[in-house]
Symmetry: C2
Subunit: 184 residues, 2 copies
C-alpha cells in the first residue's frame, strides 16, 4: 500500500478541450511527492431525478461515490456558467449527495477554476463553496486559484503552459496536502 | 389572437410527484383572468457540453428557447438541492443561455419554490436570482413565495391543497401580471 495522499480530481466541464480539464491534467504534473491524483470523468452521469434514484443508483454514480469515499481529498476544477457552476457539475454532486453514508461528508476539498474572462470563476467558486456546506465537504479557504484570461495560459489542446500559473498551482497543492493531513 | 399575458412555467424537478411540478399545476388554476400559462417539461434536456452544442442545439432546447422567446413572462418553481438549484434546472438554463439572441434577455421572471423543510427553498432562490443576473431575466423582487413544510400542503399526488398557500399564490400571480405589464 502506498501511503501517499489519494486525491480524486474532476472537472466541471464536459468539453473535450476544456480549460478546467486541462487544469486537472496539470495537477497530475504539478502535485507534490506525497500526493497521487486520480482523475474522474463526470461525462456519463445522467440527469438526476428521485424516480430514477428510487429504481437504484446508476453504476457510474456508484463508481464515482466509491472513489470519493476512498479518497483522502477531493479537488474540483469548475468553469463558470451564468455566474454559477455548470448544471452538469451540480447534477453530479446532487446524485452523490443522495447516497448514504454521504461520500462527501467531512472530505477535505480544494476548489479551483479557469475562465477566458477577467474574474477566473470567482462567482462559480463562491456558489460551489455554499453547496459544499450542505454536503459537508471541508473546503480549504486559502490559497484560492482563479485562472483568468485562460486563452493566454493554455495551448490549443488546453494544456496549461503558463509558468506563473504552474507555480501558483504547485503552492496550492502543497497547501492542500497540509489541509488533508491536518484533517486526518 | 388572445391578448392575454403568455407565461411559460417550468419546474426544476424531474420527479413525477414533485411538489414544484405541483406548484406549477396550481398556477394554472390560480392565475388571474388576464394570464395564460404554458407548462414546459425540462425532463428531456440532455447534459450541456460545448462540443455537443457545436454540433447543433438539440431540438428540445430549440423548442424550449422558442417558447421562452415568445412568452411575455417566465415562471420558475425550483426545489432546493444542496443549498442551490438542481443541476437539472441549471443545465436547462445553461443550454438556453448559449443561444443568440439570448431568449431570457430582459424577460420578466417570477421565482417560487416548495420544500419539505422549514425554509422553503430560500437558498436555491437566491442562487437562481444571481444566475438570472447574467442571462438578464428581470426577476420580480416581491412578493416572494417560499412554500415550506410541503408535505402538509400537498396531497399524495402532489396537488396543492392548502388554502392559505393558494391565496398567497393568487396574489403573487397578480403582482407578476403587473410586473410583466410594467416592463412591456
Amino acid at each position: 500500500m502506498s501511503n501517499k495522499l489519494k486525491v480524486l480530481a474532476f472537472s466541471g466541464s464536459l468539453r473535450k478541450n476544456s480549460f478546467n480539464s486541462g487544469l486537472v491534467r496539470a495537477v497530475k504534473e504539478l502535485k507534490p511527492e506525497n500526493m497521487e491524483i486520480d482523475i474522474f470523468d463526470i461525462n456519463d452521469i445522467t440527469m438526476y431525478s428521485d424516480d430514477l434514484k428510487d429504481g437504484g443508483f446508476p453504476d457510474i454514480v456508484k463508481l464515482f461515490a466509491e472513489k470519493i469515499t476512498s479518497a483522502d481529498g477531493i479537488l474540483i476544477a469548475t468553469p463558470e456558467y451564468n455566474y454559477s457552476i455548470p448544471g452538469v457539475l451540480k447534477n453530479a454532486i446532487d446524485w452523490v449527495s443522495r447516497i448514504s453514508p454521504q461520500p462527501f461528508n467531512e472530505k477535505p476539498t480544494a476548489v479551483m477554476g479557469a475562465s477566458p474572462g477577467m474574474l477566473g470563476t470567482v462567482r462559480a467558486q463562491m456558489h460551489l463553496r455554499q453547496i459544499a456546506i450542505f454536503v459537508n465537504m471541508i473546503v480549504m479557504n486559502k490559497p484560492e486559484v482563479f485562472v483568468n484570461f485562460a486563452r493566454e495560459k493554455f495551448d490549443s489542446e488546453s494544456n496549461l503552459t503558463d509558468e506563473k500559473t504552474k507555480e501558483i498551482i504547485r503552492k496550492f497543492l502543497i497547501a492542500f496536502s497540509s489541509w488533508i493531513e491536518k484533517l486526518k
